[in-house]
Symmetry: D2
Subunit: 245 residues, 4 copies
Amino acid sequence: MLLSGAKRSYLVKVSKGKRFSFNEGIIDSEEIIGRQYGEEVTTHLGVHLRLVHPTLLDIVYRGFTRRTQVIYPKDAALIILRCGVGPGSRVVEAGTGSGCLTALLAHFVRPTGTVYTYEVRREFIDIARENLAAVGLLDYVVIKEKDVREGIEEKEVDAVILDMADPWHVIEHAHRALRCGGTLTCFLPTINQVERVVDEAIAKGFIMVETVELLLRNFKVKRGETRPEVRMIGHTGYIVFARKP
Amino acid sequence: MLLSGAKRSYLVKVSKGKRFSFNEGIIDSEEIIGRQYGEEVTTHLGVHLRLVHPTLLDIVYRGFTRRTQVIYPKDAALIILRCGVGPGSRVVEAGTGSGCLTALLAHFVRPTGTVYTYEVRREFIDIARENLAAVGLLDYVVIKEKDVREGIEEKEVDAVILDMADPWHVIEHAHRALRCGGTLTCFLPTINQVERVVDEAIAKGFIMVETVELLLRNFKVKRGETRPEVRMIGHTGYIVFARKP
Amino acid sequence: MLLSGAKRSYLVKVSKGKRFSFNEGIIDSEEIIGRQYGEEVTTHLGVHLRLVHPTLLDIVYRGFTRRTQVIYPKDAALIILRCGVGPGSRVVEAGTGSGCLTALLAHFVRPTGTVYTYEVRREFIDIARENLAAVGLLDYVVIKEKDVREGIEEKEVDAVILDMADPWHVIEHAHRALRCGGTLTCFLPTINQVERVVDEAIAKGFIMVETVELLLRNFKVKRGETRPEVRMIGHTGYIVFARKP
Amino acid sequence: MLLSGAKRSYLVKVSKGKRFSFNEGIIDSEEIIGRQYGEEVTTHLGVHLRLVHPTLLDIVYRGFTRRTQVIYPKDAALIILRCGVGPGSRVVEAGTGSGCLTALLAHFVRPTGTVYTYEVRREFIDIARENLAAVGLLDYVVIKEKDVREGIEEKEVDAVILDMADPWHVIEHAHRALRCGGTLTCFLPTINQVERVVDEAIAKGFIMVETVELLLRNFKVKRGETRPEVRMIGHTGYIVFARKP
């Protein structure tokens, strides 16, 4: 990641012969390769850019190829914490989409856990595989080109996470796949989907069914001028959590 | 964890001779010891309770001894995701408090990472150590009875997380302790603390300084009666994120 | 209204022989009668209380006898502004309930407008009538002991405001009663009621149908300790606005 | 106001020779003059547009010439309800700006009340006067080309409403101008202004000082696809209310 001043940054993937063009000027990969994080490089306009180690979040949200709507960090964070995963966990996820949540899950189940991710659309699988490979997380992921509505093949998994339009078709499969005490999580844009999933989850014997929504406010902070940002994302989705008894 | 019906649950720590008393009746540890998760036990009133494997979150938020205000899961989740930790990370945290955030961080840096947590109040250190030991995470934590305002001894850490009243005294130490690209996170109840920390972080050379606030709404979901809960937590704290260039 | 210090206040209705007992001590109506607003009176404990002219809002929200859930000021305010009433307006409201919204509407349609309020439950009508009389607004209100679901008798009204459980039965009546360009407003606790009302309003030819929800945050403001209040009301209801073309 | 279908509407002011051009085609004022509200007119493309009586809110928020940031309806509504005005009230407002809040206040104090509005910038006064005249509310407004920080000339007013950058200079004047029990209201974009105003209001003897913030969420309502709108206004301003004892 290249930084210009305090606010502007660029995420680049260097490779021989590749050249990058920013507002600050042009720079060749050759100028970057071999440098240490923390060092500065200079564009053809003489502007200095600093090389900074990107976090996984930088890469997933700024570097991943996307073809789908992507889950927001605020929602991904709560899902990851509340679904109970950690190093060694076995998690089932559907659908894969661009692989953003897959990558975050894979990151946290390392080094001994696995994310089993179901996706029916071949083009997304290819993008997700490429994205996951780029961050070195493919080893912790099993991508399955299958319709999760037809069944989950894994058993005794710690968590099932559904980010799909009709998760009610998967509730029963999730119940069978989860270990006792395991967590079902559904991310849903509309309240109607929430009603249907909650109904189905209770009907299939899930307990501790909870529905939440997260709102994130960004602030403009400056002595004497501090206030929330005028524009904000008013809605991303609802999250339903449930436990298998 | 013992479940009664779909909503009520109890977190217990069994030990010989210990007896638990619930609304559903009394039960002895002896009745629970040796049972498998998923099995049922019966109280003296004949009520069946199911044994469920608790998640780390269940234990941290319901089983930990607390002497301090504790960070909410919504905030802990975003901090953990955005501060960039994961298996193998080295994180500095202050203050330890009851050890809730410490436990969550330790959980995610396993098996090769370490959480260095600073606390000046001896009584909290004892409580935190006991809490961390109870969940088997003490091996991934170094508890330091030191005032973090006097310096951070670790170098090249991935993240510094400050949940304390006057973090502005620690910004310079955090800058020295962090690796290039590492993340500083401060959790702060008042907007005045935010202003002071943001000022200091910018003054000390931190970049990408962002302030956010999370609001969590719980929903009552029932066909035909779905609405947000009437009472909600209106404020926990602001979170400031910054990066070392 | 009697004030004690900067925060505590009491709303009283004086009458000969009536005696009031507060934390600050006891005081007789006789001591208050004849005093001017702004003057102070003294309790038997020697505490001074200041006489302050109450606003309509003070009386409606603190002095009215209530038997029902009452609409919050934030919602009442937006309804009053957006439904387009003002001095001279003719408004239909249902149900009357304790008469809180009725009083606010009556206040704003004075001196030449009228609020026609429908209520089927006799006991509420009596309470509302008493409440409205106490604030001198009964002259601007026609209380009708009728089921609004069976029809609205008024014609060419400026606004119809429905705060009832099943307003979809009244949409067609509202359409007939409203003048061209007039406003229909429904206040609804659940999202399911919203869906049904919006469907029905569009089906019956209403236009510019909008649904909103207001969240009010209270702040604790003190130099250096400013933050939103920890507890807040997370939900009161949704408001649907629509116009007759 | 001209309506096209259920959602699109145009606010026009007809005058001889004036011609309007919409997506739906061109139409001359002559075609509109003499028609009744509720009737339809036809553009040169043959599209029918319906004539609808606009509410004051339609005109203020869509028809007024604006040179300034304008207070949102959600905030104006709460201010109007909580400041205690109504038919006959005498209100002081500063600054006038484009006259939006002035118009709404004038609307509600009719027919016997008056809004005294202070503004130092001559160009705004001209715009406000024109706007107020266009809606027939100028008779209820006294526009004063004076700096309110130098004093309020009115006495015993019911409410003082300050929508200006530095209201702390006016608190003492407001205290003198208000009747006992009268209401001071300040609308402020930043939390720092709030701190300063609250400090000053308490120092000058105001009581019942409260600070609130309103968030308005718009909803997309459609059977099976109901959810809050993705984009929302995250912040307009804080409102401080206080009472003169």
